[in-house]
């Protein structure tokens, strides 16, 4: 049997933010078709991992490697990573006043299409696509004409992130706390959206603090990030164990 290369392969990753070493030898493999959950205490570096993968300026990689679909991810500019199908759902989506939501979305889609040598999307086709995805996210059409996240409530911003993901159809979606700040119904809607993206050729990495989200989106693997690395990995039962016991026992074991 030949070894199949994982879609995302992180080896011994070290990231410094400001003067702080946040990731310190993190390794993780995610294969196409899988959903992985990453949990861990506040400040342990979950968002740092997401930003490092997306190439955010200021997140300096001091060691290790990341391969994505066979390419050296770390050598690519952030926009090139996005164009190759890496999507980051932000923990705190930013507002961009005056920039039309649908305009940004169309520019994003066209950037990815251009990278693949496809022509710009037809305006009508695009609108139909967006409408269809908005139905899944139960979003009102008025969101299309509003500024990007401008005046959106916390929950609306999170829905908007998932809407963008559904339109862009990324190969790898890293969703940083897609569930925080959502009411019970919205949580189901967001989970539905994420499940709609699941496919054999796609992978999803969910950063979350709670089991609830994982009740709706069944992960294949669950990892605990602490002390700058993955200190424990397991199946869905690990999340339930964490819910019951917290992190202390793991941290003590790791130390």
């Amino acid at each position: 049997m030949t070894e199949i290369q994982a879609m995302l392969s992180i080896k011994d990753l070290r990231t410094t933010v400001g003067s702080r070493k946040v990731l310190d030898g993190l390794s993780l493999q995610v294969s196409a078709g899988e959903v992985h959950a990453i949990m861990g205490p506040n400040g342990s570096g979950k968002s740092t991992l997401a930003f490092t993968l997306a190439g955010r300026p200021g997140y300096d990689v001091t060691g290790g490697s990341v391969s994505y679909c066979g390419e050296d991810l770390l050598s690519l500019e952030p926009e090139a990573r996005a164009q190759r199908g890496l999507f980051l759902g932000f923990q705190y989506p930013v507002e961009i006043p005056g920039v039309n939501n649908v305009y940004l979305l169309k520019a994003a889609l066209n950037a990815a299409r251009k990278q693949r040598g496809l022509p710009e999307v037809d305006a009508l086709e695009f609108l139909m696509l967006v409408r269809e995805k908005m139905k899944i996210m139960q979003m009102d059409e008025s969101f299309l004409s509003r500024g990007v996240n401008e005046g959106f409530s916390g929950g609306e911003k999170k829905r908007n992130e998932i809407l963008q993901m559904l339109v862009l159809e990324p190969s790898l979606a890293v969703l940083d706390e897609a569930d925080s700040g959502l009411d019970i119904d919205a949580l189901k809607v967001v989970a539905n959206g994420v499940n709609a993206l699941r496919a054999p050729d796609r992978a999803i990495v969910l950063v979350t603090h709670y089991q609830r989200l994982l009740d709706y989106i069944k992960p294949d693997r669950v990892h605990v990030l602490a002390c700058g690395k993955i200190i424990r990995s397991g199946g869905p039962e690990l999340a339930r164990e964490l819910e019951a016991r917290g992190y202390d026992w793991l941290l003590i074991e790791a130390a």
């Binding site: 300026p57 200021g58 932000f90 940004l104």
Partner: protein
């Protein structure tokens, strides 16, 4: 990477209208005295009253000093080294139709994206093109004449409608108004004249395209627009100049008069040569623009997109005399590299229930200095007057500056004056958000800046809004570093 470094990478396409047209012109030797003023007036075969008016202005100008209150630093101007009249050489008196216009001039305007051939105008915009000191062509004359609209060069108006000029010229901006307006009154060479008769909705957008070509000349054009009772007109002005490493003076005067129920919408896309990255060369744009809402329920709306010029010094204002009249000012001003912009508006409320709205968006980048200076004056007669002012600044990089000087004088206790102001930066968060969606840095910056300017751009006529966005994109190239 810092925000600066991130934004720095934008490639420089630079100023795109910087070419010189090789054309023979008749230019007065540099220098200014009564004789020059008389000569200009004679070349233009002007009636006595106008010659006298010019001379009066010139004599008054001699007693004035350049204003120093603006937040700009300028090289002193030697008014004796400027030529006050330059015109492309023509055998006859002036082109009667487009066929008589020098093809090289037509080519120039094609290059600038202003095709003068009427057939080529899909949008149905009538254009008056001013090349250095003279108007070279006015398109769509026939259709406008049928509607009773007068749209012609100032020189033509002097010949054909002297009575209208005598009635309205200087009635909004008196020749004593300020140093540059006074100078303009003495030496203005050409410009546009518009008269919309009672009850007429002008059937198309009117537009003037100004082009400075000759070196060492100043451009002093004059625009006068009169909208009679119940009429309506939308007017657009565009400007470009070649790249030269000396500063050139542009001191224009624009006067608008709106009678009862009339409406004038005046839009400017100003893209004079801004000078190079180190501040060498560029146009000194010292302009006086004022509209008077003379009649009841009249409305004057200024929209300006100021991306060019080394120094911009202009405050398009409205004198709200008529009851219920409305004045509006929407402005986007960009100061990149070493550009300096000191711009804003004056809203003078005289009549009862007059209203004014001011929306100013200032963008500073490079070492640019952007100043908003605005006056809202409510006289004791202006019962129930209202003003709303919103003044936002966007900074790109840390070597530029944004300044705000709002002056408010309220003499009537029933007036309501509101002022909102903000200063912000393109945040790293916004930029990264766009990058993460696959959008290039350059596109992201443009998107964010355009978003910032949205409430002004939506006031522009459609086809010019697109042009303004593109212009902003070009002007922001290499914005920060």
């Amino acid at each position: 990477m810092t925000e600066n470094a991130q934004l720095h990478d934008l490639v420089g396409r630079g100023y795109q209208h910087g070419f010189v047209t090789d054309i023979e012109s008749e230019t007065l030797p540099p220098g200014l005295d009564e004789n020059v003023v008389r000569t200009i007036s004679r070349i233009k075969r002007e009636p006595m009253f106008l010659t006298e008016w010019r001379l009066q202005a010139f004599r008054h100008w001699l007693s004035l000093r350049e204003p120093t209150w603006a937040h700009v630093r300028a090289e002193p101007i030697d008014y004796q080294s400027i030529s006050y009249y330059s015109a492309p050489k023509v055998k006859t008196d002036g082109p009667k139709s487009l066929d008589e216009v020098d093809p090289r001039l037509l080519e120039t305007y094609e290059k600038l994206g202003v095709p003068l051939h009427e057939r080529a105008r899909l949008a149905g915009v009538a254009v008056d093109a001013v090349f250095d000191s003279v108007s070279v062509a006015t398109t769509f004359k026939d259709r406008l004449e049928k509607a009773g609209v007068i749209f012609c060069s100032f020189s033509d108006a002097v010949q054909k409608h002297p009575e209208l000029l005598e009635q309205y010229l200087g009635s909004v901006v008196p020749l004593t108004d300020n140093f540059y307006a006074c100078l303009n009154s003495a030496v203005f060479s050409d410009g546009s004249f518009v008269y919309i008769p009672k009850g007429v909705r002008c059937p198309m957008e009117l537009s003037t395209y100004f082009r400075i070509n000759a070196a060492k000349t100043g451009q002093f054009e004059r625009t006068l627009i009169v909208a009679d009772q119940g009429s309506h007109v939308s007017y657009l002005e565009g400007c470009t100049a070649p790249m030269r490493d000396e500063n050139q003076l542009h001191a224009a005067v624009v006067e608008l008069v709106a009678m009862d129920d009339a409406e004038i919408k005046y839009s400017t896309v100003q893209n004079w040569y801004p000078g190079d990255e180190n501040g060498v060369g560029g146009i000194y744009n010292f302009v006086t623009k004022r509209g008077e809402c003379r009649g009841r329920n009249s409305r004057i709306s200024w929209t300006q997109v100021e991306t060019g010029s080394a120094i911009t010094w202009k405050y398009p204002g409205c004198v709200l005399r008529g009851e219920n009249s409305v004045g509006e000012f929407y402005s986007v001003a960009l100061a990149n590299h070493c550009q300096q912009a000191d711009t804003g508006t004056k809203m003078i409320h005289i009549g009862a229930n007059t209203r004014s709205t001011i929306v100013s968006k200032g963008i500073s980048a490079g070492r640019g200095q952007n100043t908003y200076r605005g006056l809202v004056k409510i006289l004791s007669t202006a019962q129930g007057a209202r003003n709303f002012t919103q003044c936002d600044s966007l900074l790109m990089g840390d070597r530029c500056g944004a300044h705000t000087f709002p002056y408010v004088e309220v003499k009537n206790p029933t007036a309501i004056v509101e002022h909102e102001a903000s200063t912000s930066r393109i945040s790293e968060d916004q930029l990264f958000y766009c990058l993460q969606r696959g959008i290039s840095e350059e596109d992201a910056v443009n998107m964010i800046v355009n978003g910032f300017c949205k409430s002004v751009f939506k006031e522009l006529p459609m086809e010019f809004a697109v042009e303004a966005q593109n212009l902003l994109a070009v002007s922001l190239e290499g914005a920060v570093g």
